[in-house]
């Protein structure tokens, strides 16, 4: 049969971020895939070498808007590993709370998008409404809906107020009841079954071979979670379960993420119940020469940072490896042999995050004019006006 090439991206209505997939299809079957990334490459590893250790924390927080805790968490752990220094207990618990809050909103964001990709916009609207409440909780705790700026090498920047805790726990309980309803609606839905069961299967062998991470690996029966394998923060002090399923298809990835949200809520509540008092910062002064590694479980899998110091106040090398960097190549194993109509949901099933993957600014702006926010609003109004005139709408 004749082969046809179907390009998806780099800018496509179904994608939130720029990436390019070149699908080779025979009839309706995908026979090959080629991935091209790099459209979001900002040179953050290079930039980090020009900033001090403290400034870097803010820089790498901006690698990604969704995992805005994972990167600083891994980075601060890498810096603490150079010295080495032990973080105060209270800071460990608060770090865990923030990281789990992020996991909840990230998983919900994916679940909504998955519904959107399947053409099931009711799920999308419901889940994103629920995600708003989590963002409100994060605003109460940190002052920000996203990019919390809570982390610093040696501890955290701000403490949690004790009068906020009952409010947050009450909100969490209300989220659980809505989530129970959603879980039943999504997991038992025949439409979702038909679109996701047995689709895009990643076998256990492939998951190990591709070094897949996070929910992508756990849905394929690989019990791999940094929070259990090499515990950090407060994860070894409180009780929670790792969610592992065995089919490896899109449905299992969905189930893993939904059930993990419940575990995260459990972890947050347990952390609040056992929250110790005391210091929140180890007050690091100098960073000696040496090298350190920090890795944590981000919502999409393990986030890995390697920092090398030469005794000055700047890192000489800062290597960042985001989970999608390992998860995205697995599409070669999952998509081949599937129908073209399932391609978008299979590609979305690993919860790809290209900002993280490409972190590296080489601002190559050939255009001389730089648009500000005001210019863009002006342009948009002008365009609307032209359209109105054309259509004769007053």
């Amino acid at each position: 049969m004749e082969k046809t090439i179907i390009p998806i991206g780099p800018y496509h209505p179904l994608q939130e971020e720029p990436e390019f997939f070149m699908l080779t299809v025979e009839g309706e079957k995908v026979v090959d895939i080629e991935v091209r990334i790099g459209y979001n490459h900002r040179g953050i590893e290079k930039l980090s070498e020009m900033k001090s250790f403290d400034q870097s924390t803010f820089l790498i927080e901006r690698i990604c808007g969704i995992c805005s805790t994972s990167h600083p968490f891994a980075y601060t752990r890498a810096v603490e590993d150079i010295i080495p220094v032990e973080v105060p207990e209270r800071a460990k618990y608060i770090r865990t709370i923030i990281a789990e809050g992020e996991r909840i909103h990230s998983h919900l964001l994916w679940l909504g998008l998955a519904g959107h990709f399947l053409g099931y916009n009711t799920v999308y609207m419901w889940v994103w409404k629920l995600r708003e409440e989590i963002l409100d909780v994060m605003e109460i705790l940190t002052g920000n809906r996203n990019s919390y700026a809570m982390f610093k090498p040696g501890g955290i920047r701000r403490d949690i107020k004790s009068e906020d805790i009952p409010v947050v726990i009450k909100k969490m309980d209300s989220i659980v009841s809505t989530l129970e309803m959603l879980k039943k609606a999504v997991i038992d839905d025949p439409v979702i079954h038909a679109r996701t069961k047995g689709i895009g299967i990643l076998s256990k062998e492939d998951a190990i071979n591709y070094c897949a991470l996070g929910p992508t690996a756990r849905a394929s029966g690989v019990a791999r979670d940094v929070r259990k394998d090499s515990p950090y923060g407060a994860y070894d002090k409180i009780e929670w379960d790792m969610i592992v399923t065995h089919n490896g298809d899109v449905f299992d990835k969905l189930v893993v993420r939904i059930l993990e949200v419940f575990e995260s809520i459990k972890i947050i509540k347990n952390c609040f119940l056992n929250l110790p008092g005391g210091e929140i910062d180890a007050n690091i002064k100098d960073i000696p020469p040496g090298e350190g590694i920090g890795f944590i479980e981000a919502p999409r899998g393990e986030c890995f940072h390697y920092v090398k110091s030469d005794g000055t106040n700047r890192p000489v090398r800062h290597k960042v490896r985001a989970p999608t960097f390992m998860n995205l190549p697995t599409c070669k194993a999952t998509i081949i042999g599937e129908y073209i109509s399932d391609a978008t949901i299979i590609l979305a099933a690993i919860d790809p995050c290209y900002c993280c993957t490409e972190r590296m600014t080489v601002c190559n702006t050939k255009r001389k004019k730089i648009y500000t926010g005001k210019d863009l609003i002006k342009l948009s109004r002008e365009k609307t006006e032209i359209l109105r005139n054309k259509m004769g709408v007053k």
């Binding site: 990334i37 394998d229 590694i293 390697y306 290597k319 390992m326």
Partner: protein
């Protein structure tokens, strides 16, 4: 296997390949190995010790180039970083792609940003850098110079 058994095992099995073992942290070990032994040691760690390949970090050390291959043995919570030193005059090392697929992208990344050649990698094409980026310019090297005159730099507003 415990941590001590694993390390003793590695010491015994690869005594000619290991240059130095830096064992200062309870959960992390740095092992410097000879350049030509990489595939042998990495394959033992990945296949026999059932470790997971985290990633590799390439570092430009001015006088030489260094690659650290990080492996995590999940059962005993031990992170092994294999350190390989490369001469600047001959930046070439065997690819790990034949052993596991997970090394594919990171080798492509190191190839384009540090200019290291991976022998045995079938497809060392661009991954992150744009298509109009000139050949032979490696952004993460210490001697990197701005090549594009139109670049707008504004640091710290």
């Amino acid at each position: 296997m415990t941590r001590e058994e694993v390390l003793g095992d590695l010491r015994k099995k690869f005594k000619d390949d290991i240059v130095e073992i830096l064992d200062e942290r309870s959960k992390k070990v740095y092992i410097e190995i000879k350049q030509e032994s990489l595939v042998k040691v990495a394959s033992y760690i990945f296949k026999d010790l059932k470790a997971r390949f985290n990633t590799a970090s390439g570092v430009d050390m001015r006088n030489h180039m260094e690659i650290l291959y990080h492996f995590l043995i999940e059962d005993i919570n031990l992170l092994i970083s294999l350190r390989v030193k490369l001469q600047k005059s001959k930046l070439e090392i065997d690819s790990l792609l034949p052993i596991f697929e997970g090394a594919n992208w990171i080798e492509r990344e190191m190839h384009e940003i540090l200019g290291i050649n991976f022998k045995g990698h079938p497809d060392l094409k661009r991954l992150l850098l744009p298509d109009d980026w000139p050949d032979g310019v490696y952004p993460l090297r210490r001697d990197y110079k701005e090549w594009d005159k139109n670049v707008i730099r504004d640091r710290g507003v």
